[in-house]
Amino acid sequence: MENLIALLVAAPLLGAAVLLCGGRRLDAVGHWIGTVLAFVSFAFGVILFADLLGKDAEHRTLMQHLFSWVPVQGFQADVTFRLDQLSMTFVLLITGVGSLIHLYSVGYMEHDERRRRFFGYLNLFLAAMLLLVIADNYLLLYVGWEGVGLASYLLIGFWQHKPSAATAAKKAFLVNRVGDMGLSIAIMLMFATFGTFAFGPVFGHVGDTSEGKLTAIALMLLLAACGKSAQVPLQSWLGDAMEGPTPVSALIHAATMVTAGVYLIVRSGAIFNAAPNAQLVVTVVGAVTLLFGAIVGCAKDDIKKALAGSTMSQIGYMVLAAGLGPIGYVFAIMHLVTHGFFKAGLFLGAGSVMHGMNDEVDMRKYGGLRKYMPVTFITFGLGYLAIIGFPGLSGFFSKDKIIEAAFAKGGTEGWILGACALLGAAITAFYMTRVMLMTFFGEERWKNQPTRSPQSPSAEPAAEHHGEHAEPHPHESPKVMTIPMIVLAVGSVFGGAFFSIGDRFLHWLEPVTGHSEGDSPVSAATVTGATMVCLIIGVGIAYAMYGRRTVPSVAPRGSLLTRAARRDLLQDDFNHVVLVRGGEHLTRSLVYVDHTLVDGVVNGTAASVGGLSGRMRRLQNGFARSYAVSMFGGAAVLVAATLLMRAV
């Protein structure tokens, strides 16, 4: 049974290889190959899941040792897979959602002549992501970690002819690289401390080392997590990442990859538990990002960017939970899974809307679409209810638990964190309602005006086939696209309930992550109540602003905060001024230095030698007689020398 684990990765990897090396002859069937292989991988996942369920809770860990990867004296890195409950959860999420989105893409990318390559990249992503979650040591995890980074780079920049896309891709990869630096330093620290970086031994010996070292390791891991999961201060890439095709945004930048950071923290729970300071930092990062993302989400008119903001903030919730230690690990993962469902659903819905609206992304040019694309409307609506935590839907359960846990941290920070979480819930409700209203309700602002507003030029080749500047005629998307949306909607409706009724999810994960009930100063009921209140407030405000009044199709100037939020709270400007400009100046001056100083010294000596010889050249005046004189003088000197020799 263990041997199946490798096949989880192998299937999509094979797909990637075949599709990317296959050449044009596979264009016709490429997308189906990719999709089938994704489903195959999912099937393996299910089989393994069944196998795990067969075992009793303590022995639900499958190990597979493939081969010794990098053996150098003390440094032993093996290719070993570990499949326990935590990995299993992710495997199912990744392969499940992944397969659905493959299916969706078949329709969405229909008109793209490079569809084959798109599926190749998607498969590559699946393989890397699976490798990430089933790796048994940090170095192998690092491979998957960078692998998903590469895949997301390729997919964000899939429409490379758009400079914006290429830039966004580069930005994403670079910011991630900064995070990866953290990961690699963490691995080095582990090796220097433990002499190994395999999960088992490291976690086993956490007790034997100083807290300082552990804190350092933990912070480095956190840096990595921030990079991958778009947490403050490394969040700036996620918004731009929406340049990629919508399925990519759904799969990579909502459901799976961006949650890798959470996985890393939860997986390294043993280390974090032993480093409380680091945990505090984690929670702070989570809380800040939670609010940050939410605020950004409120200001964006680009539907995908708004959703991106919400993703950021939802992951903030997870990180916050993960930072709470054993109290929160399980809920972090749970929220991660449910979020995977509804956020993927929302993105697919958004994609479907764009598909029907000539790839218009500006919500101010939507409106009243509910009667034109009913399926999309319903699925999107369910996702919406789920994310704002409408009672009974999945978001309600998972988010509520996290807020409880936040309060349960105890002490002042418990209160602060809890407050942040509540506030976040309110804002979430606000901006999601805003999205919902602006898209599906109100009067139809897209009537009698050409879409494709110049400031958001989305050159998705899909668009080039229906006329560019024609007035859009919204239509429902094909079955191949709607079915995945429906499935995900179902998941987002019942997932939460299914998990938390009887604490199924808790019992499932506990053996890996451990769990402890913190003593919450406020009862669960109060928390739930508070959440409901926030929810209502948020929805109410949103309705007042966007449901009652008509939405202007050109964005009003807005308050200072709004304008800042539209610019991602000036994060990018900061980066631009400090990093980019500074870097450019630095490199330019260095180039100058290299040319003048380092090289100049050498050339200077060369020049001086040249000058000297030039002066020497004057002696060669070309007159045979003066040469003769020197010759004669030389002869005289020789005679003198010989005589002296004789004399001595």
């Binding site: 590469l150 490379q160 690289r177 433990f194 190994t196 010996h205 630095l586």
Partner: protein, 523 residues
Amino acid sequence: MSFPLLTATAVLPAIGAIATAAVPAARRTAAKWLALLVSLATLALAITILVRFDPDGSRYQLTESHSWIAYFGVRYELGVDGIAVALIALTALLMPFIILAGWHDADPLETGSRRWRPTQGFFALILAVEAMVIISFEATDVFLFYIFFEAMLIPMYFLIGGFGDRAHEHGEEAASTQRSYAAVKFLLYNLIGGLIMLAAVIGLYVVAGNFSLQEIAQARANGSLHMATSTERWLFLGFFFAFAVKAPLWPLHTWLPNAMQESTAPVAVLITAVVDKVGTFAMLRFCLQLFPEASKWATPVILVLALISIVYGALLAVGQRDIKRLVAYASISHFGFIILGIFAMTSQGQSGATLYMVNHGISTAALMLVAGFLISRRGSRLIGDYGGVQKVAPVLAGTFLIGGLATLSLPGLAPFVSEFLVLVGTFTRYPAVGIIATFGIVLAALYTLVLYQRTMTGPVKKEVSAMPDLRVRELVVVAPLIVLLVFLGVYPKPVTDIVNPAVKSTLSDVHKKDPKPPVEAAK
């Protein structure tokens, strides 16, 4: 006396060079094929060495020893340890690709220019370089090594100065002047280094009385040959300077960008992937074995210089406008990593460094050769002249991207393993140095991706709109390299197994042990 395998491996390309040069001018193609066949035969011999070499056997194997200049005690002594075997294999492996990639680089120019490119000469010189490089990897006699270490410069000089890119933005005249400047610069730098080394070699002879690496090393080890501290340090500096110029180490690096920029892509690969390796290899074999104490004494300075090389090279690479210069500065950064690994004096560091030499050879070859194909299509080396190539020539762009990813050492590709080993090896002994060096990987991503974005993505420039995709010959060159990159990235064990014992004995020469982790968690 068994079959002198090592001699054969070095002599075969030498004979090949002469034969190629002797091919009549009209039969150009014949010369090319001859050169290719010779390089393949050499590869076969190198593989035989690889097979015959027993990692767990004695340190130096397949040794040959004949008296040469008895008066000076100079002997013709050959022998290979794991490190040398790996590098010989690399050299022999790259040669066929270099020759194949340079297939048309030396054809006589039909249009305009009066400069006649002697094709035979081009390939003969390449083979000559191969012969000399291989023998300097094999030589265990300091004098013998020195001779070929220096002789290498002559064919390289003609390769750099004689053959440049077909087209040049400032026209043929400017091109030739810049070429000769680069060639002379290359020659001067390395000659000066070599002269200083010669002084050190003579000094060594005065102190030790013979040139045999093994004898001297043994004598040093068992204390029968005692050197005054100052003497040892001076000799070490003499040797190290030459190797640092060749490597090249900051601030002795400025010859490399010019040389790589002006020479054709295959020659550039020859410089950075093959010839420069002799420098780093020699640090490992001669500096550490002959002068262990001095090496330890000099370590701090060298580490700092290596760090500067890493960051500085990367930053300059970001600032370049010329594709080849960019690659050159990237190589400088990578050589910084190699030297860092060597002088970290840990088994991870040195195994990593050796592995790095091999991987860097392959990855740079892949990137540079593809860049060469690109340049030969557009006739310009300036990054700004490209754009949107990805849409026109996807395969070319893809291979270029893979080469770039290898250069930024993406996990799963070969360079990652070596780079990480070097970093870990450095970190365990000098944490601060390790962390600073880690910034190199971010910068690497920066310059690689900027290069890719500016050349390959974005709207299609009209100059490149008619650009043909990779031809079969070019694909034959690139594909194997990429396969190799992936394979060594996933399964580097074969190489490490060969290298590890050699590294272990080198470390024992300098009396260094890996630092023990405080917590013994490794089973």
